[in-house]
């Protein structure tokens, strides 16, 4: 089975890595296996190959050969720009990197960190995680859209996707950043229709993300700080609540406030909460083992919700 393209790319990489001086195109066409056809065809082939290798992150240096042929350009790959140089790294740090690389459960973050780890393991230093006394942790894999969003972000290409908020609508967004916060991934970016910076929860992106426009179709403002956005939309005041909780019940609530005995069946607890919605869900979890005493608005909300269940 032959795979001329891959074979030629490998031979080109090896030749450019091995040479100590710049190789001219003519020399490449004559010596590197795989270049054939008319001069124009080889020229086109070489241009594509260079782009392909660059897309793999391989830097091809272009330089003037010497003063003999002033305008003749040559090519080479500097081994130090090609090869992994991890600098001074301790075995313990390598072990930490190894644990970090294993921590994503799936998806593009897992794939990239695994390939990073393979490269580290190709350095010939043994990696021993035994001494770290760390448990292996697994972090959630981001949504399938993560890969496309990341790509759009890196290339600053405007993105389009269907987003389900109060309505399901197509959104056109210049991505400024991605962040993981309280267990969910968010995209922050400039929304073309709304004409302002918006936050999108990745799990609410439906189907595929498409890119529109060319690379560099927008610029991320230099003063953009993603942490200003994810925390802002959740800021709310703390409220105080007073509840009755049945003795030996509502175990999870007990550590969150100050508990005092009420009578032989009930204790009283005072605690604070941020979001009424989340707090309601938490209280109703305990059903008849919890009764709200204060504030009145919370009592009304509890009664309203229970009436809804019964209707």
């Amino acid at each position: 089975m032959s795979d001329p393209k891959t074979e030629r790319l490998l031979n080109l990489t090896m030749a450019l890595l091995a040479t100590k001086r710049y190789l001219t195109k003519i020399e490449i066409f004559q010596s590197v296996a795989g270049y054939k056809g008319s001069p124009e065809a080889m020229e086109r082939m070489f241009e594509r190959d260079k782009d392909d290798l660059r897309s793999l992150g391989i830097e091809i240096e272009v330089g003037n050969l010497d003063n003999y042929f002033e305008d003749e350009q040559g090519y080479r790959i500097i081994p130090d720009s090609y090869g992994l140089d991890i600098g001074e790294i301790t075995p313990r740090e390598l072990a930490l990197l190894s644990v970090a690389a294993h921590s994503w459960s799936e998806g593009v973050l897992s794939k990239s960190s695994q390939s990073a780890l393979r490269k580290l393991r190709s350095l010939g230093i043994s990696i021993d995680t035994e001494d770290l006394a760390m448990g292996w942790a697994r972090f959630e894999n981001p949504q399938p859209s993560f890969d496309q969003l990341w790509q759009g972000l890196e290339e600053t290409k405007t993105l389009q996707f269907k987003y389900s908020s109060t309505t399901l609508a197509l959104r056109t967004v210049d991505a400024y950043g991605l962040t993981l916060w309280r267990g969910f991934w968010y995209l922050v970016g400039f929304d073309h229709e709304r004409n302002e910076i918006r936050v999108f929860k990745l799990i609410r992106i439906i189907d595929q993300v498409t890119t529109i426009g060319k690379s560099g179709s927008y610029a991320i403002p230099s003063d953009f700080d993603i942490s200003n956005y994810v925390t802002n939309f959740t800021e709310e005041k703390k409220h105080q609540a007073k509840l009755l909780i049945r003795k030996d019940k509502a175990q999870i609530l007990r550590s969150e406030g100050i508990v005092a005995p009420h009578d032989d069946q009930w204790d009283q607890i005072t605690l604070s909460y941020e979001y009424q919605e989340a707090f309601l869900r938490k209280l109703l979890w305990f059903g008849p083992d919890v009764q709200v005493l204060e504030p009145p608005a919370l009592i009304d909300a509890v009664i309203g919700r229970l009436t809804e269940v019964l209707s």
């Binding site: 393209k5 891959t6 490998l10 031979n11 990489t13 090896m14 030749a15 091995a18 590197v32 392909d52 992150g57 391989i58 090869g83 992994l84 140089d85 600098g87 313990r92 740090e93 970090a100 294993h102 921590s103 459960s105 794939k111 960190s113 390939s115 393979r118 490269k119 393991r121 190709s122 006394a133 448990g135 292996w136 942790a137 972090f139 959630e140 972000l153 890196e154 389900s164 400024y176 991605l178 993981l180 309280r182 267990g183 929860k201 799990i203 609410r204 993603i226 994810v230 925390t231 175990q251 999870i252 109703l284 305990f286 059903g287 008849p288 083992d289 009764q291 919700r305 229970l306 269940v309």
Partner: protein, 319 residues
């Protein structure tokens, strides 16, 4: 552009330095390592076998041996070094380190080391602005993390005091911890629970006490008893739920156990796969009318009864 040719080129370039430092692996082991099939690895090796430096005599070709079942590199030519890490690889490592750091409390020595390593990785990429970050509130830290981690790596047993959400009770569990994972912003421990005789998950923020067990590890010699708390039987009939559009959070948080049956402008109809009906009864009260059970009927009436009983607290003058 032929994408698969590029993928193969990248893998082939990485394969040579990897095998050079890790000789003697089988084609199957390499396939696993490179997350591909043995067939693709064989193709890669056959291809590398005919590649080399200009001249292309046996002296200039890459030399490999893999007929005997284990792969080794005899002559790598100019491919002896692994390629440098690309931006994505570095960022993935940085994010993984940040995740590990946020599991640890401020002042923890390991946290300090992890963050220092992250900072030195950041200096290796061109633009310091990653545009992709974890937030400090990535996960809540747990005071028991260290003892749990030590137990996982040392394969020892822990005695937990645990607040069970579904049963609303405090129980003592002896557990052989296996792994930590995160979901919906919480850290969970999965491990073998001696009381249940099976693997169980525990939310770290609900562990109230955690200590290394004084007793040596011994496998449970009695078979698990189904009547014990924490042992569930799968429901005979999987509940079907009507989930209103406004209960989006419920859909998202439980995506793993929900099978969407249909979607209408008003609600999503989904089947939920749960082990303990108590979980659904308790959740349903808090969700009000936004999530309602369509079937089975017994579950439906259990929820109504519980709601009525709770409401009665506010109608009577029992305070």
């Amino acid at each position: 552009m032929n994408e698969s040719a590029l993928d193969r080129t990248a893998r082939a370039l990485d394969l040579i330095p990897f095998v050079l430092e890790n000789p003697g692996l089988s084609i199957e082991e390499l396939a696993q390592e490179f997350a591909t099939s043995p067939k693709e690895i064989t193709k890669d090796l056959n291809l590398l076998f005919v590649c080399g430096l200009p001249g292309y005599t046996p002296l200039e070709l890459i030399d490999l041996s893999f007929e005997s079942g284990s792969v080794s590199v005899i002559e790598p030519q100019s491919l002896d070094r692994p390629r440098k890490l690309n931006r994505r690889e570095v960022i993935s490592l940085i994010l993984g380190l940040e995740g590990l750091a946020t599991l640890r409390a401020e002042g923890d020595q390991l946290r300090f080391e992890i963050l220092r390593l992250r900072d030195s990785l950041i200096t290796t990429i061109e633009t310091a602005n990653l545009q992709i970050a974890t937030h400090e509130e990535f996960l809540p830290p747990s005071p028991f993390l260290q003892v749990i981690e030590e137990a996982i790596s040392g394969r020892t047993v822990l005695d937990l005091e645990y607040l069970s959400g579904n049963r609303d009770e405090r129980s003592e569990r002896r557990v052989t911890p296996a792994q930590l994972y995160t979901e919906n912003g919480f850290i969970y421990l999965i491990g073998y629970c001696f009381k249940s005789g099976a693997d169980r998950t525990f939310r770290l923020d609900r562990i109230v006490k955690c200590a290394r067990s004084s007793e040596p590890i011994s496998a449970p010699n009695t078979p698990p008893n189904d009547s014990q708390p924490g042992t569930y039987k799968a429901l005979a009939e999987e509940p079907i739920l009507e989930i209103a559009h406004r209960a989006k959070n419920f859909l998202e948080e439980n995506a793993a156990v929900l099978t969407i049956l249909s979607t209408s402008p008003d609600f999503t109809l989904a089947q939920i796969s749960i082990l303990d009906p108590e979980w659904l009864i308790r959740s349903a009260l808090g969700l009000g009318g936004a999530v309602s059970v369509r079937s089975p009927a017994t579950l439906k009436s259990q929820i109504r009864d519980r709601a009525q009983e709770t409401l009665d607290r506010y109608n009577s003058n029992s305070v």
